[in-house]
């Protein structure tokens, strides 16, 4: 008790200090925030029924998407015939989940290509938007996890899938996305993005919906099983160790050439410089070295 009194006394000496007010304020804020976090209902709240979700999605759509896509997702055509935003009727939920889930939509500004950025909407909001667009007209919906996930497959099944997927990938995808999915150039400054940090779900949706320049690989074109095989291949080469060492960006011979010149020739020339600048070691007296020039 005495100890407490003493320390309280020591504390109270500071009560009129210049920082006392600030400290009390901070303490109070911390307490309020902590209590709120502890007692507020956790995010366990169930997503409501479909109708509720669609209504929620429509609200979000009206605030964030309708400026370009129209108030009912019908698309807006500008006066000179360009599209401000395409119609979303019949596009389906998978496209929304891809575009919004990778941060491509909503656009910061119209441009030649939508690029991924920080995601604006959380998972629930994305799902609500997808549900709303899906309700506008049936299109490919968000795939269920069983379609793209390789979880739960045996080692052999996964391997067999990856081998098949590799052949499909090299036939259909590598022309734009590069042999290991590290991306490539497209006409007019567009790019085929790297696939290495894209989630399996988004890769599946991209194949299904063909965003941007990409072809649409519908289920009749590449069957769902084969889409999963492509994903299994990409996962497999991602998991492989770098067999040959540092991959230098995985963009083929251009970076190899750069390293040959910078590291290889650069290193050799540096050593040549070193060798030529070191003369023979000799224990002769300096004047004896005068004879060298006579040679």
């Amino acid at each position: 008790m005495r100890l407490l009194n003493r320390s309280a006394g020591r504390l109270s000496r500071h009560r009129r200090g210049p920082l006392a007010g600030l400290v009390v304020l901070l303490f109070g804020l911390l307490l309020t925030g902590g209590l709120y976090a502890a007692f507020s209902p956790a995010s366990a709240e169930k997503t409501g029924t479909d109708a509720e979700q669609i209504a929620e999605g429509r609200k979000l759509f009206l605030t964030s998407c309708s400026f370009c896509h129209g108030q009912n997702g019908e698309g807006i055509t500008t006066r000179n015939g360009n599209q401000l935003g395409p119609s979303l009727i019949g596009v389906g939920g998978a496209a929304v989940d891809f575009q919004v889930g990778t941060g491509r939509m909503p656009l910061v500004q119209p441009g030649h290509q939508t690029t991924p950025k920080d995601v604006t909407f959380n998972d629930e909001e994305t799902a609500a938007l997808a549900a709303y667009v899906q309700s506008l007209g049936a299109g490919p919906d968000i795939p269920s996890e069983a379609l793209y996930s390789t979880e739960g497959l045996s080692e052999e099944e996964r391997e067999e899938l990856a081998v098949r997927g590799g052949q499909i990938f090299l036939t259909n995808c590598s022309a734009c996305h590069n042999f290991e999915g590290s991306g490539g150039a497209m006409p007019r400054g567009k790019v085929a993005p790297s696939l290495q940090k894209t989630s399996s779900k988004h890769i599946y949706e991209a194949m299904l919906t063909g965003p941007g320049e990409m072809d649409n690989f519908s289920n009749g074109n590449i069957a769902p099983e084969d889409k999963k095989a492509v994903i299994a291949y990409l996962e497999a080469i991602e998991e492989n160790p770098d067999y040959g060492g540092f991959g230098m960006g995985g963009i083929g011979p251009v970076s190899e050439g750069m390293y040959a010149w910078l590291v290889g020739i650069g290193g050799c020339v540096a050593f040549a410089f070193w060798i030529a600048s070191h003369t023979t070691r000799t224990d002769k007296k300096p004047q004896a070295a005068g004879g060298e020039a006579d040679q």
């Binding site: 090299l170 590069n178 991306g183 400054g189 790019v191 067999y243 190899e256 040959a260 050799c268 006579d294």
Partner: protein, 582 residues
């Protein structure tokens, strides 16, 4: 220097001289020498003198890379199977197991994954191939920019050029052997190049591939070319190159004691044997490090070749980059005559342009010798600045090379720099013609400015950085004369002779025989040498020194030669026991 201890022992001792007991090595050497006579043959060579300069070792990088290529290449032949027969892969790489592929590709995968040390050696082989050609190029740059190709070395220059060409073909053949997706894509381009030959193109292509591309003949054929034909030619040409090097003696930088008749440097034994031998291990070590740490040509990711597949980032190895660039920026021009197509869009960039570029560089020594009419031997090198037009020509060629290189990687550049691929292509179409002209003018003026600066230094001394303030308040920088040896080195060059073609006809109005050619020669002479700054004459130098002395006397008169505090540390005086005066 380089005196070996006398094997007969001391000859000025108090005891009678007697031979040391020969050791076992010496006995063995003597046994061999009695039968082979190597000592007599080698005596001259082991005392061959090499001058010391880092740029004289660039060719050595190429030589040692070639040795690494031979060593690693032999290892690879033990496992590589040059066959296009279809097999089902059953090796260790999971993602291709069960896939149908050619035996060549399957055995490359085996070398990479199932042969101990195979991937390391394969990567070393590839890296050293890249270094081999790169080193040849930098060596060529050195030789060209220093004028080392002049008489008597013109033929060695041509041999060097052929070596570069052969090295590139050899590299391309090796790149094609694994039969992966990139190999096949490269071969498809080669097929296109061959087919672009008017009239006989298709026949040549069918002959080469043993039928329609890709056929099943090309890999075994390329294998023979890659491991026997071209290496044999390269080896023979390297031997000729080195023999000529020994015969001509090494070139050297001018300097006191260095003339056209001698070579100043260190002898082969023991100094250069150690330096060059050590350099082999350094080159080997760098290649081994790169082979061990940096992944090159990961064929398992490319997959087996299939004409229906292609990948983004399909590029050749760097030395084919300019051919790739030429192809990529060429507009799609074609002519149709009598139902035949002439593909200018492939023939010009693929067949004609590379040969024109190569011929231009190979022919330069002959052109220069013809213009100057100089029949003397040259063993002293020129500084690049002292041949401004030549240097400017070569740097302009380098700029073309660099631009075409960049054009060959236009897709990678577009992605990495956020540019448009077409934008790069359109830019390059103009730049490959415009930039070399700008570079030529710029480099020529730069060289001439450096020549002027040299003359300044010779006549007025170097800038000491010592600023003197006169009693009137004016400031001057003190110049001090450069050392005699430096002045000698800077002036050890010939004056350029400019031919003046003012009299194409003689007094009777008769054209001299061959005067048109002479006219060209005179014009070229003017272009090559007229703008150069010549070194100062003896009188000018004397006057310059006289002027400096006068100035100095004037300074003494004006009381400005005071030992100004701190200025004793100008590097021209001994400063032991000196301290700052107050």
């Amino acid at each position: 220097m380089g005196v070996l201890p006398n094997p007969l022992g001391r000859s000025h001792g108090t005891k009678a001289a007697k031979a040391n007991k020969p050791n076992r090595g010496a006995a063995a050497a003597e046994w061999a020498d009695d039968r082979l006579g190597l000592a007599t043959a080698a005596k001259k060579q082991i005392r061959k003198v090499f001058p010391d300069h880092w740029s004289f070792m660039l060719g050595e990088i190429a030589l040692w890379s070639f040795v690494v290529l031979l060593l690693t290449g032999v290892f690879l032949t033990f496992w590589f199977q040059p066959s296009m027969a279809e097999v089902e892969y059953q090796g260790s790489y999971d993602e291709l197991r069960g896939v149908e592929m050619s035996q060549a590709y399957a055995s490359t995968l085996d070398i990479s994954f199932d042969v101990r040390g195979g991937l390391l050696l394969r990567q070393m082989h590839h890296w050293s191939a890249m270094l081999f050609i790169a080193a040849m190029l930098v060596h060529m740059m050195r030789v060209f920019l220093t004028g080392a190709f002049r008489k008597p070395r013109e033929l060695n220059w041509v041999i060097g050029g052929l070596l570069i060409l052969l090295g590139i073909v050899e590299g391309f053949a090796g790149y094609s052997l694994p039969d992966d997706l990139l190999s096949g894509t490269g071969l498809r381009i080669a097929d296109g190049l061959v087919k672009a030959t008017p009239v006989v193109g298709t026949y040549m292509s069918f002959y080469m591939f043993g039928g329609e591309f890709p056929g099943d003949e090309i890999i075994p054929r390329l294998y023979m070319v890659h491991i026997l034909l071209i290496p044999g030619l390269i080896l023979a040409l390297i031997a000729a190159h080195m023999l000529l090097l020994v015969y001509h003696k090494h070139t050297q930088w001018p300097g006191p004691g260095r003339t056209e008749e001698n070579v100043v440097g260190y002898p082969m034994m023991p100094v250069y044997a150690a330096k060059a031998g050590g350099f082999f291990f350094i080159v080997f070590g760098i290649t081994a490090l790169m082979g061990g740490l940096l992944s090159i040509n990961p064929v398992w990711k490319y997959g087996p070749y299939d004409p229906s597949k292609v990948t983004a980032g399909s590029q050749p190895d760097w030395y084919m980059g300019i051919a790739e660039g030429l192809l990529r920026i060429m507009p799609g021009w074609e002519t149709h005559i009598f139902g035949k197509t002439i593909s200018w869009n492939v023939m010009l960039p693929g067949q004609i342009a590379p040969m024109v570029l190569l011929t231009m560089v190979l022919a330069w020594p002959f052109l220069e010798a013809w213009v100057t009419g100089d029949k003397r031997e040259h063993h002293l090198l020129q500084r690049p600045r002292n041949a401004p037009t030549r240097t400017a020509f070569f740097v302009a060629m380098m700029s073309v090379y660099g631009l075409l290189w960049a054009a060959g990687g236009n897709d990678i550049l577009a992605v990495q720099l956020g540019l448009s691929m077409e934008g790069i292509t359109y830019f390059m179409r103009v730049a490959v013609f415009a930039v070399p002209v700008i570079v030529f003018i710029f480099v020529k003026r730069w060289c001439i400015s450096l020549q002027r600066h040299d003359n300044e230094t010779l006549l007025h001394g170097y800038e000491t950085g010592v600023i003197m303030r006169s009693p009137e308040g004016g400031y001057t920088e003190r110049h001090l004369p450069i050392s005699e040896s430096r002045a000698f080195t800077m002036t050890a060059r010939d004056r350029d002779v400019v031919l003046d073609g003012s009299e194409p006809v003689d007094a009777n109005g008769v054209e001299a025989p061959g005067s048109r050619l002479d006219g060209i020669r005179h014009r070229l002479s003017k272009a090559l040498f007229a703008d150069n700054v010549q070194k100062p004459t003896r009188e000018e130098l004397d006057e310059g020194h006289h002027h400096a002395e006068e100035e100095h006397a004037h300074e003494i008169e004006a009381g400005m030669d005071q030992p100004a505090d701190g200025h004793q540390f100008d590097g021209r005086h001994t400063v032991e026991e000196e301290s700052l005066r107050h």
